[in-house]
Symmetry: C2
Subunit: 346 residues, 2 copies
């Protein structure tokens, strides 16, 4: 009998509510010979207010010992913008070398898209997770004066770019359409852009069966609404990936359905799974949060740990549940979790 | 009788074709007592291949003497990515201190949007044009080796941010809805983000009748497809502005209709007007390019120079022309130009 040791970071706002449903469905879907051990980590706004800590080293050390991490959402208006994002969420992604931020975008048959004309959408974004403008490099001089200068430094290395580009090529090769699109802005950000493009072109020669394409990020946003069916796998930098995956979520049924994995493919550190959405303090406590994105993130988690059948069962359950949503009365967070738990255990 | 001294930079690809139509409509709309003097500047891929020059200082000096610049599009696959963009287009924007990059997004009654449900869209993006990740700061170390490090430095100053934020507040105040949204990513890009947010909040106190809002750029892309009607004026940095204005163009009828002005509000240098789209080498020479974006950019140019009535006539002509497009046979670049020229002179 096997065991999954799972670290759970509910975090802030609706994070706590949706994580509870994710665990409910995870428990329901696991076969009896797999034991689930969870440990909940009290991190986020409350902890910061109480102790001033975002992610103490001791907690980071303990987190390392789990097979995976399930995270709800981080961020609260009572905490200055950036403190928890940088000190907790990004710290986890960087410390655990989550260089593949995997964000699938599939328009399920009954999902509601803001796009006209019933497009077919099924692509996955491989967003770099440990470099680019997210490194925290930069600073501010003469802060708060009329002479202030503030910089942000995007740091990109051949080491960091090549490994994520390779991962994306391998994923593209494993999909039926075998197409990989690099998204960057190499006509303006020439140093980082050329590094990405050169490595992309070089690695491409090792994957002759993968069709490649390059798009500037601005043009990519146009295709994401005009012709999203053209995308199969997209590889892109940390910031562009952040932007286009929110847009991708919007066109494939909304942020309530968008799942993600922060993956350390080497397996040196635990990978972390979380909905793409944030802590949504405006609806926290109302029962209005849709836990589906977290539940689909649990499916990604199971697939990552080798439980492919269970991952598929969750995805099928979500597809079936969505089919019943149109015209039906709105359900609470808890009710959606119950419905999906019932489906996967049924 | 007055004179408009106009510098014309047709540039590359479809740039030449659409600029010809822009000039046709400009000539047709001007009253008889306004004299138009144009001077065409041969800049772009051809010039670079012939001489290695992108924008010689002597040309830059001569360009200064015009009242305004009309630009088609810059960029060609035969020139390494970035050479013409940085050496010509961005050089003009920076040299002429075009700190307001104005990009209106209005869904005209007959325009075709990819969005379902007939949204009402009428907003304008004030994109900062002289700072941010566009400054060309950065570099590459050990280029082309497995140990390469490439950086891009976003430079942001209180001086640069305050002037564009003020411009945006003034524009918002002059519109019926009086709403201004700041778009940034201040939970990650904390140095630049806090500079923008602090200045935005401070200037806001001087415009108590303007409603303000803040959105992270990723969230903004969601609203641009789910609820674009919420936007009135958006102010944002150079790179975020690049990305969201392409998306905004896509949802308001496509890049074939999106006009822009690179404005130096102080009047020290000539402002420059150009379609948001690029040189589209794939359709250059086919007569398929839609000159409407350039013609609407001519309207922005006329408004900037104080010819409000003529600007309005062009915009009305475009609206009327669009109403006839649905179901009609496709027209060539030239035919669309002719039709609009006929309407504005009629
Ligand atoms: C909360 C924020 C730091 C985060 C990011 O920018 O990566 C979020 O937007 C995401 O996409 O996971
Ligand atoms: C061609 C390119 C340099 C330019 C930009 O990024 O500003 C274009 O995309 C635009 O939006 O005008």
């Amino acid at each position: 009998s096997r065991t999954i040791s799972l670290a759970v970071i509910p975090g802030d706002g609706i994070g706590r509510e949706v994580v509870a449903q994710g665990l409910k469905v995870l428990t329901a879907v696991l076969p009896h010979d797999v034991k689930l051990e969870t440990e909940t980590y009290d991190l986020g706004a409350k902890r910061w207010h109480a102790t001033g800590e975002t992610l103490p080293d001791a907690e980071l050390d303990r987190l390392k010992n789990h097979d995976a991490i399930l995270l709800g959402a981080i961020g609260d208006p009572s905490v200055p913008s950036g403190v928890l994002e940088r000190g907790l969420l990004l710290k986890l992604r960087f410390a655990f070398d989550h260089y593949v931020n995997l964000r699938p975008s599939k328009l399920l048959p009954s999902a509601v898209t803001p796009l006209a004309g019933d497009p077919e959408i099924d692509f996955v974004v491989v967003r770099e997770g440990t470099e680019g403008p997210y490194t925290g490099n930069g600073g501010s001089l003469r802060t708060g004066t009329p002479a202030e200068v503030a910089t942000e430094v995007s740091v990109n290395t051949a080491y960091g770019v090549e490994r994520v580009v390779r991962d994306a090529f391998a994923r593209a090769q494993a999909r039926p359409r075998r197409k990989l699109t690099l998204v960057h802005k190499n006509n303006v950000l020439v140093y980082a852009g050329h590094l990405w493009k050169n490595i992309f072109d070089r690695v491409a020669t090792e994957f002759p069966d993968v069709t490649t394409d390059y798009l500037h990020v601005d043009a990519a946003t146009i295709f994401l609404v005009n012709d999203p069916g053209r995308f199969d796998v997209i590889v892109t930098d940390n910031l562009f990936g952040d932007i286009i995956t929110d847009l991708a979520a919007a066109v494939t049924g909304g942020i309530g359905l968008a799942a993600s994995g922060n993956i350390n493919p080497d397996g040196t550190f635990p990978s972390m799974f979380e909905p793409v959405h944030g802590s949504a303090p405006d609806i926290a406590g109302t029962g209005k949060a849709d836990p589906t994105a977290t539940i689909l993130s649990v499916a990604l988690l199971l697939r990552h740990l080798g439980h492919e059948a269970e991952a598929g069962r969750i995805e099928d359950a979500v597809a079936a549940d969505l089919a019943g949503r149109a015209g039906a009365a709105a359900r609470t967070t808890d009710e959606i979790g119950d419905a999906l738990a019932a489906r996967v255990s049924g």
